[in-house]
């Protein structure tokens, strides 16, 4: 009673019209305004820009699908299909490699030193210069590289093996190493969160290890698997370094195409390309959402993890 009276005495005039919100809410609102206005809106605006006409830096606000026609006539469709295919294939390979490894790290590995070293090994690559991670492969797999020298020296082949570098093989190979940690981490975290009681209860009720894996671990680790998929597939799709260093001009992927379009000031076609990628990402997320719907959506899965 006293407190209420005190407050109403103090607030007068203009103060009555401003909602009394904590300072945190005000600063969050301010930041959100800047973020959505400066980042989210511009990114979504690509879709609008891609339907415009223009030359160089000048654009007319006159709707057209010309940019899309040009993009696909330049072989953009093929390039996109290749990018999605390669990134998709490697992501699936990463999933198969990372899941048992993450499961072991989370539930099997008891040696603390091994765990700590492995965690460090999985963390460091996030902070390494992208070029530094792949540049050496050219010296190793090149025509005069170590592998070919050895193969020739031993006499397994008569002339240098060419597909070791600047080929789809080398691009896949380069990606596998570079994007392993992004798949392991989320799966590891979600498997760690699974209570051992659930695994024991499953076994106690008569389930074999395979059954427990399928019925208990896999559904409960689903958020991690999805997160791993997103964090691996998306950056890989737009990767600028592995494709150009390991694929050269033979394996043109998304990043190189965007750059060459911007390089020749073909901005609006680049916008069309970007819009197509955004559409693919959107479709990808809708698919994920649909896939998770039976288990109550991603939010439902997360909610069910809390006890």
């Amino acid at each position: 009673m006293t407190a209420a009276a005190y407050t109403s005495n103090r607030s007068s005039g203009l103060r009555d019209f401003i909602p009394r919100l904590p300072a945190g809410v005000w600063s969050l609102s301010g930041f959100s305004l800047l973020w959505f206005g400066g980042i989210v809106l511009p990114l979504l605006a690509i879709i609008v820009v891609s339907f415009l006409q223009g030359r160089g830096l000048k654009i007319n606000f006159d709707p057209t699908i010309l940019q899309y026609k040009r993009f696909f006539s330049y072989g953009g469709g093929e390039m996109l299909a290749r990018s999605v295919r390669i990134a998709g294939t490697v992501t699936m390979i990463e999933l198969l490699l990372a899941f048992p490894f993450a499961l072991w790290l989370a539930k099997g590995c008891k040696n603390n030193t091994v765990r700590l070293l492995t965690f460090t090994a999985l963390t460091v690559p996030f902070f390494l210069s992208p070029a530094a991670r792949v540049i050496v492969w050219r010296s190793v797999f090149g025509i005069n590289g170590v592998v070919n020298q050895i193969l020739l020296g031993v006499g397994i082949v008569d002339e240098p093996v060419l597909w070791l570098i600047f080929s789809e093989f080398s691009v896949h190979f380069g990606f596998i190493g570079a994007f392993f940690p992004t798949m392991v981490w989320p799966i590891f975290l979600s498997v760690s969160l699974i209570d051992n009681d659930f695994l024991e209860a499953s076994g106690d009720l008569g389930a074999s290890r395979l059954r427990t894996l399928l019925h208990i671990i896999l559904p409960l680790a689903l958020p991690g698997i999805v997160a791993g998929f997103v964090f691996t597939f998306i950056p890989m799709l737009g990767d600028a370094v592995v494709a150009s260093h390991m694929g050269g001009n033979n394996v043109l992927m998304l990043a190189a195409q965007v750059q060459s379009l911007i390089g020749v000031s073909n901005f609006l076609v680049a916008a069309a390309l970007a819009a197509v990628v955004l559409a693919i990402m959107l479709a990808f997320q809708v698919l994920l959402w649909l896939a998770l719907k039976p288990v109550g959506g991603l939010a439902g899965v997360f909610a069910s993890l809390r006890r």
Partner: protein, 387 residues
């Protein structure tokens, strides 16, 4: 006394072979010995309670029976007459109700209950029928489609019970199943569990740290301490005939008076305590030398008050006293009485009792247990200094 001899003495139904044998189980976690050469048996249809404080090894023993823990050393574990020492939990004919229920969060109530049947390849309709039957049994008939996080604590407890029962195990293992419930619900569930046990005729092995739960529900109690069995028998035995000071203390005996043994004749022991000779039922081993430090254990509710010496019954222990502090406990009063050998607690139910000219406390020799200080099977517990 060797443990297996105790086990045979305590078996209630002698005609039938026990449904469970655990022989010489030892388990270590690193350097810590959780279970030290323990052997137990359980009769078919028995409600057996493993009682003990945390770290006593009771949960470890339960997990060894379930197959969730592989014991460091084991003689034999047999369920239904078949040796299961080398068989994993998934193929043992016993199921566990976990302490925190371990209900799968991504499955509905029905799916949780049916899980054990699903992994055994039981057809969908049959599964559903049995799940609904067992839900009826635990009094949750309309919760089949609920999700786990929509249930209350008591409901989760029942679902966990239903999930363990649906596979029709030989033995149901319960790991402190009522620990997470509030007081009122716990008392209700005790009765319900007991009813369920009688209805099903199944063997229950129940782990708890609460002597009250153990006394209410069990046919037989095994009291563990530091990885060893200290006493086992029907609830009345543990309650009235504690085999050591530890058991008496654990079973909630308020007055533990330490003295020296003077003689044992038949059932009755005479204890010398600060010039007084107290008589009580001897609960220790047969051949105990006079002069051994022992403990006289009397429950507060068995302690009577008198104003003069004529107030005692024939053959009772009577000691002069002064009135001490009174604590109000709602239903009764806790009255402390100062005697020659320290305070004695008495429970007064009649609030109008006049304490002003109180001169003696007394109790019947049959209401009083005399136990050794160390006791059977307790390792590393020397006699406490006598005050």
């Amino acid at each position: 006394m060797p443990t297996n001899e105790l086990a045979q003495n305590a078996s209630p139904a002698a005609g039938e072979a026990p449904v469970l044998y655990v022989e010489r189980a030892t388990h270590r976690f690193g350097d810590v010995v959780a279970l030290d050469d323990v052997s137990i048996t359980a009769q078919r249809g028995e409600f057996l309670t493993l009682l003990g404080e945390s770290g006593s090894g009771k949960t470890t023993l339960l997990r060894i029976i379930a197959g969730l823990e592989r014991p460091t050393r084991i003689g034999r574990i047999a369920i239904d007459g078949a040796d299961v020492s080398a068989i994993p939990a998934s193929r043992r004919n016993c199921t566990t109700v976990f302490q925190h229920y371990a209900l799968f969060p991504h499955m509905s109530v029905g799916q949780n209950i049916e899980y054990g049947l699903r992994v055994r390849g039981v057809a969908r309709e049959k599964r559903r029928k049995r799940a609904e039957g067992v839900l009826e049994l635990v009094r949750l008939p309309d919760k089949y489609d609920r999700r786990v996080h929509q249930l209350s604590g008591g409901e989760r407890q029942r679902v966990a019970l239903a999930r363990a029962l649906v596979t029709q195990p030989s033995i149901l293992l319960l790991d402190e199943p009522l620990g997470a419930l509030d007081e009122k619900l716990r008392v209700d569930m005790q009765v319900e569990l007991k009813d369920l046990h009688e209805q099903l005729g199944l063997t229950f092995i129940y782990v708890t740290h609460s002597q009250e739960e153990a006394l209410t529900m069990s046919d037989r109690i095994i009291l563990l301490r530091q990885g060893r069995v200290v006493q086992q028998g029907p609830p009345q035995d543990l309650f009235d005939r504690p085999a050591s000071r530890f058991v008496a203390d654990f079973m909630g005996v308020e007055n533990l008076l330490e003295g020296t043994l003077e003689s044992v004749t038949g059932e009755i022991a005479v204890v010398r305590l600060q010039g007084h000779a107290l008589r009580g039922i001897w609960c220790g081993p047969r051949a105990t030398e006079p002069g051994t430090p022992v403990c006289v254990a009397v429950r507060a509710e068995r302690v009577r008050l008198a104003t003069e010496q004529q107030g005692f019954v024939q053959g009772a222990n009577g000691i002069p006293c002064r009135t001490g502090a009174t604590i109000y406990k709602g239903k009764y009063l806790d009255q402390t009485l100062e005697t020659d050998f320290g305070p004695v607690k008495a429970r007064i139910w009649d609030r109008d009792t006049d304490l002003s000219d109180l001169a003696y406390v007394w109790w019947r020799e049959g209401d009083c247990a005399v136990t050794p200080l160390g006791g059977v099977g307790t390792a590393g517990v020397g006699p406490a200094p006598i005050g």
